[in-house]
């Protein structure tokens, strides 16, 4: 008995010793990344962190020559960056010289970004800059949680050039509660609904672009393809159907609450009275048309189950597709992704519109626990105003990752281990054009941005927290019914009443009332 007790104590003692040794070694190893150790300290003092930052920034506004060296961390999504090292060195060479700072780039795969960043945010880990948006790693939600530093003062002190370089409507859109919490990446902010038709079909079957004003006007063209081609679906849809893609064509604007928005208002209605779009006469009409098309074989049979139209279109098994962003200068990209590079033609059914919150579709924000928010701001200023730096971040090193075709245009080398999306890093209009884009692409896009018609609700941000349950319920009903209905696969006479009934039970009215309340309040402040 005595012996066994001693063993027990010995075991416990050994365990404690092991733990101590473990934690001791790890402390020694980790002197280089001081971020994690300090973050817990700064977290405990987090209410004052923002104001501290402001104070230190204002203390050293004109100290350009004597800026202490710092290292910044930047989290952003990217697909594959296996050879990041040389690019990072090139970036640091520029930033070291200009603002005496280096930056550690931390790309995370798109599919993992949400989970990774939410974990980082919840753990209070320090980072200087993080990419955020309204569709991946939610901007407004994270601002509400207090993850980002308000930038108004920093922008005026350290980034006057950046502030001046973007139009006011971009800064308006990133405001939450009247304050700016992120730097929007300026790019094409417009949308335009319509069909995409491969050029060979358009020529062969005599497509009359000017005759197509409503979504159903494409029917005669589809019919000709059906008769002339075998084994080709005249119109290709995925499980989302295309009602949401032609929403403005039908005179409706929706609020982006779920992936297929359930509520909206008529563009002509200045009081912005919300209604359930699936109970509208427009949806009923849409269903009757597409159900007819589906039965006549104009739509691919597997539409309710496929997640993307790209594979079918690329294989030449489908002709016409559709999009809600037929922006100038995007033909090459769309054709590469969807039609394997074949020439295509856009058939727009609306003018250029600005809808929702394009300003927060891609944003870079500064973390609350950053120790150097002023330096991070200087860095972001540089990214958005220095073309060399921006192009290095997007395209990498000349000769290794891309070749120059002329002054403004580059050809990206495939498989060089570095690819990045221009809109993640900064103002896309500062970048090179890619091979195949017209030289005036950026001018046209900028002009389009300025001339496009904004919808009445543009800039409105819906706070989902009071109706989260209803949103989840509505979403699951939409997921259940839309793939069948919106692709025309099932008979609307039988299923539509069911669908509407289920939406009612899921609480769409409560959702609508809440949205109306917020929308009215927002409208009153305009």
């Amino acid at each position: 008995m005595m012996r066994s007790v001693r063993f027990g104590k010995m075991g416990l003692a050994a365990l404690v010793a092991l733990l101590l040794v473990l934690s001791a070694c790890s402390k020694n190893n980790e002197s280089s990344s001081n971020s994690s150790a300090s973050s817990s300290a700064s977290k405990s003092a987090s209410p004052s962190a923002g104001s501290d930052a402001g104070a230190s920034a204002s203390a050293s506004p004109s100290a350009d020559s004597s800026l202490p060296p710092v290292d910044l961390t930047w989290y952003y999504p990217a697909d594959s960056q296996t050879a990041l090292g040389p690019v990072q060195d090139a970036v640091n060479k520029i930033t070291k010289e200009k603002i005496n700072a280096t930056v550690t780039l931390k790309p995370i795969a798109f599919g993992e970004y949400n989970q990774r960043m939410n974990t980082i945010a919840a753990s209070g880990e320090a980072f200087d800059i993080a990419w955020t948006s309204n569709w991946l790693f939610d901007y407004v939600g994270n601002v509400t949680k207090g993850l980002f530093v308000p930038l108004d003062d920093l922008l005026n002190q350290d980034a006057a050039d950046l502030k001046a370089s973007l139009p006011d409507f971009m800064w308006d859109q990133v405001k939450v509660g009247g304050k700016i919490y992120g730097v929007p990446n300026y790019q094409s902010v417009t949308g335009r609904e319509g069909y995409i038709v491969p050029k060979d079909y358009a020529d062969k079957y005599g497509l009359d672009v000017s005759a197509i004003k409503k979504f159903e006007d494409i029917e005669p063209f589809l019919e000709k393809i059906k008769q002339g081609e075998s084994g080709v679906a005249p119109l290709v849809m995925d499980y989302n159907g295309m009602f949401g893609y032609f929403i403005h064509t039908q005179g409706i604007s929706t609020l982006p609450i779920t992936s297929n928005p359930p509520i909206g208002f008529y563009d002509s209605d200045t009081s912005m009275k919300l209604f359930n779009v699936y109970a509208s006469p427009e949806y009923k009409h849409y269903l009757e048309v597409v159900h007819g098309w589906y039965q006549k074989g104009y739509i691919n049979k597997d539409a309710p189950t496929i997640k993307t139209v790209d594979d079918l279109a690329k294989a030449g098994k489908a002709a016409v597709s559709y999009s809600l962003s037929l922006n100038p200068g995007t033909e090459t990209l769309v054709s590469n992704n969807r039609y394997g590079g074949k020439p295509i033609e856009y058939v727009p059914t609306t003018g250029f519109v600005v809808d929702g919150n394009p300003g927060i579709a891609t944003v870079n924000a500064i973390g609350k626990n950053s120790k150097n928010p002023d330096r991070a701001m200087m860095f972001l200023n540089l990214v958005n105003t220095d073309k060399d730096l921006y192009n290095t971040l997007v395209y990498g090193v000349e000769g290794t990752n891309y070749d120059k075709i002329d002054d403004k245009t580059v050809k990206v080398k495939q498989d060089s281990g570095f690819t990045n999306n221009a809109w993640v890093m900064g103002n896309t209009f500062n970048g090179y054009l890619q091979e195949g884009q017209a030289p005036d692409t950026f001018d046209v896009q900028k002009k389009t941005n300025e001339e496009a018609t904004p919808t009445q609700s543009v800039g409105f941000k819906f706070d989902v927290s009071p109706v989260q349950t209803e949103i989840a319920n509505v979403q699951s009903v939409l997921d259940e019914y839309l793939p069948g209905l919106s692709t025309g696969a099932v008979d609307p006479d039988k299923k539509l009443p069911d669908f509407l009934d289920r939406l009612q039970k899921a609480g769409i009215d409560k959702l609508m009332q809440e949205a109306q309340k917020q929308l009215d309040a927002w409208k009153a402040t305009r």
């Binding site: 790890s26 150790a37 697909d79 795969a109 798109f110 790019q187 993307t308």
Partner: protein, 293 residues
Amino acid sequence: MKLTLSKGRVIVHFVYAIISAAMLIPFLLVVSISISDDDLLNKDGYKWIPEKINLLGYQVMLKASSALVRAYGVTIVVTVIGTLLGLLLTTMLAYTISRRDFRYRGPVTFYIFFSMLFQAGIVPLYILMTQYLHLRNTIWALILPLLINPFYVMIMRGFLAKIPGEIIESVKMDGASEWRIFAQIVLPLSKPALVTIGLMLAFGYWNDWFYGLLLIDEQKLVPLQLLLYRNINAIEFLKGNPAVQRLGVDYSHLPTLSARMAMTILAAGPMMIVFPFFQKYFVSGLTVGALKE
């Protein structure tokens, strides 16, 4: 020996044949896709026997083989170290709480049991790993979290509890120390359980990608399954996302379907060859633990 084909037996065989087919067929399809031509694949859909054999998928993957080889290395190291260490710790822990003369047996057992019921979740784990243990971007981030599974400890304890106390008592009389009893008496007696738990631990390590996703940024420490997950997941995520279409991502350069399937085969292949050799231990380990007179 005469094989009697009774009705019951036919049914049993039939059921198992169907189950085996349900596992084999998708795999054969993956093999077939991996050696198919991508254009034909998009055009005609999947075929059991590819019309035209095209090894481009494998060429693409082998050209970028350094990442694959590296990932193999990481996974093998993690699996070997993790399994051995995990097995040792699991057995030590289980042995201690299986001894009736250990005074704190109740509380310790409860402590282990408690962690089976309630888990803190990802965020505390992340904070612990990154801010206190500073294990981010180290190989230990892949090893430590899976080291001890309370469930395996309980199985092991159940097994070890069946070793008669008299054996231990008598060895102790002969003057053996506790460590010696553990190493020379208990461990050899529990071989079947060790093999079983060891295999389960090894599978856990081999198949894990989650801790890599959470805690590994550096390309050189990415384990095999995470590499696979990334390759398959990235393209699905980008294609199915309307916001991405709006912003314009060129995903035409991402690996094609056949390349992704080729990668699956390259990643799964060696394990499939190794597994049958261990299988007999696995089966015997399971049954030996179950019934003992």
